[in-house]
Every structure is written in structure tokens, then in C-alpha cells.
């Protein structure tokens, strides 16, 4: 995976249907300064690691039901 660039995000948002994000939001994703979110690059790296984990046939989490609580 190549390092993420802001220009990629700009193209992504222009070429696919997206909300009208401003430069400052896309800047924050590439070079976070607000201390709230992790950089998108870091997140993508972590997600790439998770992709390597075999979850078998486990489906996504849904609502909790009492009869399944002991599973």
C-alpha cells in the first residue's frame, strides 16, 4: 500500500459521489492536528493488518439477544 496523499482524497471525493469536504477536513485526515482522530494512513495500515486475520465464517455483530448471551 502506497502512502496516502491528500490529492488522492481530493480525487476520490470529486470522482465518486461524496459530501463537499473542505481542504481543512482532508488536511486533518492526512496530517491530524486536532488530537481527536487518528490519521487515515494509520487507520488504513491497521485495517490492512486486520485483513490478515481469518475470521472464518463469523458474520458481523448484530443486536444482542438474551438467549445468545452464554454463547
Amino acid at each position: 500500500m502506497k502512502p496516502l496523499r491528500k490529492s488522492t482524497l481530493v480525487r476520490l471525493c470529486h470522482e465518486m459521489a461524496a459530501h463537499p469536504w473542505r481542504d481543512q477536513e482532508l488536511d486533518e485526515l492526512v496530517h491530524p492536528k486536532l488530537g481527536i482522530i487518528t490519521s487515515l494512513q494509520h487507520l488504513l495500515n491497521e485495517l490492512e493488518v486486520l485483513r490478515g486475520t481469518d475470521l472464518g465464517d463469523l458474520p458481523p455483530a448484530t443486536s444482542l439477544r438474551p438467549e445468545r448471551s452464554g454463547e
Binding site: L9, L12, C13, A18, H19, P20, W21, R22, Q24, E25, L26, E28, L29, P32, L34, G35, I36, I37, T38, L40, L43, E46, L47, V49, L50, R51, T53, L55, L58, P59, P60, A61, S63, L64, R65, P66, R68, S69, G70, E71
Partner: protein, 481 residues
């Protein structure tokens, strides 16, 4: 506890006084309204005070107490709700300019249930914009402050709910918890924070942050009060698709159950690492106290937490974006910078990322269920740090630098993904004068189990935390009942 000033007594004590006829609902309401006028400029707890609604409800409570010897358990009790929870005819702003004109047409289910229980709605409380963030900082509505030191954070995102109860401006409050947003502010402010099992309390009429992770919860002055409120709020709601159809236990009765033989799981790593030394020492003392009362301590291996924050964030932001899409077009400029960036993050993740994260949630849930077959409850510190100064962006613990919001939710957010019930309660004061808290986690739908363990801790005099040093000397006549 009974010597505490009126505004700092527990909900159980206050309702008992009203039931006995020694305190009128209107007197108690006047006390809180008086304190709101005196302290809220510092506390920044409220966005809207619903004085008229409260006065009507207090009159109704008085009539019920006079007429009915069996008035509901919460009759006359003034409480507050986070400003994402609808109350008919009142603004629900989410702490945002986006919804500055959003007047609710109906009550949220939880407000209906509190009303049916006889409680008196005092107002809507401050929060991190749309519940996005654990610091509670909000440039629009002001930042709720910590009752033990107003230069420090109350924590978030249910910051105003914690400040309202912590400053003695309400007897109890409701909040929402997506990664710790009830438990973290309760812990920082010396209160009890309860996040029941996912779906245990209806979310109908509540602005969501992330449907898969959102839990309604309570902020109270005691474990008994948490049980009292849960009894009023728990139960299925056929009109909420996320609501669970689970049997409701007798929660107040659980508090007095002995803990002989209780199997207490102590995670072998992560939860007792990279934390303030005094917090770790207090947590150890709680474990020893439980052991002395007959509990068995067992070391347990929890699922790996290495990527837990990534999983949580990957679920949160696309879900938040999905909800806020309806406002982004016409009102997008009105969002705060941090939330807009978070929503943009949600835009840039792939569907595969989101679904993989949801599958990891199922994986975490399955693994945690397996741990909780070996033990009855888990005990951890509630937060690795005490309340930070307002404006703190990062903290460094054991040489590791971490965003303050990440640090505050490090021990809580995992249990939003698994959905297990968790309660935090104060167990001491740090040498800097700020509260320290522990977290107790239980099996799905076994809130009675965590209340039982928390009750045993709370009864131990060594863990009593005094109210903040801002009480009776500044109270007006209204609070001298």
C-alpha cells in the same frame, strides 16, 4: 451520607424524604434551581433549563404523594438528560448549531419512563458536539467543568450530565455511551456511571452517534441510585429495533446480595498497564477488599486489544456519517471542525473495512463471553488518568504519548463493542484531589451481577469519596430543608 447537604443526597434518600412528607417536591426543585442559578456559569452543565415543565411535574408529584400511598419510586426526583434525548416541546440541539432550532415533538422513550416513574425533568445537559469526543469540549455551548476542580474537564461526551450531578445541580442524569461517554465523565466527577447491556434501555427518541455502539446510561450519586433508575428504564421497546427482549431483574434487591464465592476476573494485561500509579493502587485495593469479603480473584486472558480502537473507529465514523448525511448538504458549515473531520474519515473508509470491523466486534463479543463463563465479573480501572486540565490535547504515560480522548476511553470502549454491561464507581481521591474510579463488567443482561459487586465496594468505608468542596456554604435558603 445522610449528613450531606440536600443537593448532594442520593436519589434514594431524597425520594424517601418526600415519601415521608418531610420534603416537598417543590422545595427540592427550588433547591436545584437555586443552585443552577448560582453555579451553572462555572459548571456549564445545562444547555436548557426546563423550569416550567419541572414546576408542573413537581406539583403533579406532590398531588400523587398526597393521594397515593404507593406513588412510583422516582416521584418528585429532579433529573437532567443529555441534549441528544428528546423531551416534547423542548429543543434538542445535540450541542450543535446544526440543530439550534430543533424542537422535539415527542418524548424519548426514556423520558416517558422517567415521567411514568414520577421524576421531574430539570433540563437538557451540555455535551461534546453530537457526542463526538470524550473531553466534552464544546466551543459553542462552553466546556462543562469538573466539580472537584473547575480548571479541569468533566469528561465526555455526557459532560453536562456529569457536571449537573457532580455540582449538585440535579439528583441524577441520563447520558449516552458509545465508547465510555457515561462511564468516563462519571469517573472523573466522582459519580457512578452505568452502561447497561446493549439494547437493555430503549434508544428511541435519542440522536444516535453510532447505532452499533450506542448505549443509554445513568449518572448517579450512588450504586443504589443506579439500580433505582435502571429499574425504571430497563425493558423491551417494540418501537426500537435495537431494543432487547430480555427479562428485567429486581436491581435494588441485588445490591444487598453477599459476594461470597463471587469469581472476579482480573485481566492479565492491558487494563493494569500504562496508568497513573495511584489509580492502579486504588484498583488493587478494591480487588483485595473484594477478596476479603469472600470473592475469588482469577487472572483472565482478555481478547487482544491491539486493534480495538481501530475497530471501534471504523464502525463509529461511517455510522455517524450515515446519520448526519441528512444535515451535511444544507447545514454542513455549521458543524465543528473536529466533527467534520471525523465525518470525512467515515467517507473515506471502504464498505469492506466497515464490515470487517463489525465482524471483529462479533469476534470480541464471542471471546469476552467465553471469559465470562469462567468468572462472574471483571474488574478494571475505569480510566488510566485523572481529569485532565481543560485544553489538554495529549497525555504522556510511561513515555507513550496519546491523544487525551484515546487515553480517557482506553478501558471503556471495548465493552461498547461487546455490548456487555459495565458500571464505574468512585473508590478514592487522588493526591491531586480528583476522583479515582474502577469499572466492573458483567455478563450480557446481568446488570444485577455488576450492581451486586459494585454495592459491596461502595459499602466499604475505605472507598468513600467526599462530595466536592463547594457545597453548603454557598447554598441559599432553598437548600436548607
Amino acid at each position: 451520607m445522610t449528613e450531606r447537604p440536600l443537593a448532594f443526597r442520593t436519589a434514594g434518600e431524597l425520594t424517601a424524604l418526600m415519601r415521608a412528607g418531610t420534603l416537598a417536591p417543590a422545595e427540592l426543585l427550588d433547591c436545584y434551581l437555586d443552585r443552577i442559578r448560582r453555579h451553572d456559569a462555572t459548571a456549564r452543565a445545562y444547555i436548557t433549563v426546563t423550569e416550567e415543565i419541572a414546576r408542573d411535574a413537581a406539583r403533579h408529584a406532590r398531588a400523587r404523594l398526597d393521594k397515593d400511598g404507593d406513588a412510583p419510586a422516582l416521584t418528585g426526583l429532579p433529573y437532567a438528560v443529555k441534549d441528544v434525548i428528546d423531551a416534547s416541546g423542548v429543543l434538542t440541539t445535540g450541542g450543535s448549531r446544526v440543530l439550534s432550532d430543533n424542537r422535539a415533538r415527542e418524548n424519548a422513550r426514556v423520558v416517558d419512563l422517567m415521567t411514568a416513574g414520577g421524576a421531574v425533568l430539570l433540563g437538557k445537559t451540555n455535551l461534546h458536539e453530537f457526542a463526538f469526543g470524550a473531553t466534552g469540549e464544546n466551543p459553542l455551548t462552553g466546556t462543562a467543568t469538573n466539580p472537584y476542580d473547575p480548571t479541569r474537564l468533566a469528561g465526555g461526551s455526557s459532560s453536562g450530565s456529569a457536571a449537573a450531578v457532580g455540582y449538585g445541580l440535579a439528583a441524577a442524569a441520563l447520558g449516552t455511551d458509545t465508547g465510555g461517554s457515561v462511564r468516563v465523565p462519571a469517573s472523573l466527577c466522582g459519580l457512578v456511571g452505568l452502561k447497561p447491556t446493549l439494547g437493555r434501555i430503549s434508544s428511541r427518541g435519542v440522536i444516535p452517534f453510532a447505532w452499533s455502539l450506542d448505549h443509554l446510561g445513568t449518572l448517579t450519586r450512588s450504586v443504589g441510585d443506579a439500580a433505582l433508575l435502571l429499574q425504571a428504564l430497563a425493558g423491551p421497546d417494540p418501537d426500537d429495533p435495537g431494543s432487547a427482549d430480555a427479562a428485567v431483574d429486581d436491581y435494588p434487591a441485588a445490591l444487598d446480595q453477599p459476594i461470597d464465592g463471587l469469581r472476579v476476573g482480573v485481566p492479565e494485561r492491558f487494563y493494569f498497564e500504562r496508568a497513573d500509579g495511584e489509580i492502579l493502587a486504588a484498583s488493587e485495593a478494591v480487588l483485595r477488599a473484594l477478596e476479603a469479603r469472600g470473592a475469588r480473584l482469577l487472572t483472565v486472558a482478555m481478547p487482544s486489544m491491539d486493534h480495538a480502537r481501530t475497530v471501534s473507529l471504523t464502525v463509529q465514523m461511517p455510522e455517524a456519517l450515515s446519520y448526519h448525511s441528512r444535515y451535511l448538504g444544507e447545514r454542513g458549515e455549521l458543524y465543528g471542525a473536529d466533527l467534520r473531520a471525523g465525518l470525512a474519515l467515515g467517507q473515506c473508509l471502504l464498505a469492506e473495512h466497515y464490515l470487517r470491523a463489525k465482524r471483529f466486534m462479533a469476534f470480541y463479543r464471542r471471546q469476552t463471553n467465553a471469559v465470562l463463563r469462567e468468572v462472574d465479573v471483571l474488574v478494571t480501572p475505569a480510566t488510566p488518568i485523572i481529569a485532565p486540565k481543560i485544553g489538554t490535547a495529549h497525555v504522556t504515560i510511561d513515555g507513550v504519548r496519546e491523544a487525551v480522548g484515546n487515553a480517557l476511553t482506553r478501558y471503556t470502549s471495548f465493552f461498547n463493542m461487546t455490548g456487555h454491561p459495565a458500571i464505574t464507581l468512585p473508590v478514592g481521591l487522588h493526591s491531586e484531589g480528583l476522583p479515582i474510579a474502577v469499572q466492573i463488567v458483567g455478563r450480557a443482561f446481568d446488570e444485577a451481577g455488576i450492581l451486586r459487586a459494585a454495592g459491596a465496594v461502595e459499602r466499604d468505608e475505605r472507598f468513600r469519596v467526599p462530595p466536592p468542596d463547594l457545597v453548603s456554604s454557598v447554598d441559599g435558603a432553598a437548600c436548607r430543608a
